[in-house]
Symmetry: C2
Subunit: 149 residues, 2 copies
Amino acid sequence: MRDDLQPGQFLARGVCRHLASHGFSVVEEFVPDRGLRVDVMALGPKGEVWVVECKSSRADFQSDQKWQGYLEWCDRYFWAVDLEFPTELLPAETGLIIADAYDAEIVRMAPEDKLAAARRNKLIRKFATHAARRLHALRDPEAQLNAWA
Amino acid sequence: MRDDLQPGQFLARGVCRHLASHGFSVVEEFVPDRGLRVDVMALGPKGEVWVVECKSSRADFQSDQKWQGYLEWCDRYFWAVDLEFPTELLPAETGLIIADAYDAEIVRMAPEDKLAAARRNKLIRKFATHAARRLHALRDPEAQLNAWA
C-alpha cells in the first residue's frame, strides 16, 4: 500500500479499480478545460465519459467551488466518498459511489446528460493525450519531456 | 539505459522521444484491429494518426508480411531504421525515420492518406483505452487488472 497518497487519492484508487472492473479505462487528475481538474475521468466501452470527484471529508466537499463546472464535461457525474461521509450533504441530481482504497460501489447511478459529439471527441482526444504522455514518462523516465503541459 | 529491450524497441524509444518533442503523444505495440500490432502509434496535436514500424535489420523488414495492412489505420505511415539499414529496400511511397535509442529524425515525410472521421474517432478511443490501461497498471500494480486484453 502506497503511503504517499492523500485521503482523496486513496478513494480515487478504489474508484479506478471498480470502474476498470466494469470495462472503463481511467485517468486521474484530468484537465478537461483550463482551470478545471477532475479527480477521475473514466472512458467507457461505448465512449461514455464519466467524471468522479472524490471527497474525503465534509470540509473537502464544502470547500469545492468548482464541481458544477465539471457537469458539462461528462455524460454522468459522481461523487465518491467513504462510509463515514454524511451523504445527505450531496446534491440529489448526482451519482454516488462509496469507496475505500481497495474498491468501490456505485450506490446511486448518476443521471445522464449526454455530451455533444464534437465535445465528446475532443475530450476523448485529450484523455488519450493525457494517458499516453504520463505512460511515456513512466516507461522512459530519461526522456526530456519537460516541455509537456 | 534499459538493457531489457529488443533492437526494434530501442528504435521505438528514440522515435517516441522525437515525436513527443513535436507535440505528438505515443503508445507502443498498439493493436488497431484484430491480428495487427503496430510498433508506434502517434497522435498529433490536431488528431493526426501516424504509424511507425521499427526495423532493426534487413531480415526484420523482409519477414514483415503485415505492414500493408497498417496503411488503412493511419494518416501517414513511416518506417524507422538505424543508420546502417539499406533504405533502398523500403517502398518509396512511405515515410522514413532514421532513429537510434536516443532520438530520431524524419528523413522523408510520409504521404498523407486521411482516415475517415468515424475510423479516426474509433482509433483515438482505442488509443485512449490502451494508454490509460497501461498507465493504470503501472500506477496501481496491485489492482486486479487481469481481465484486460
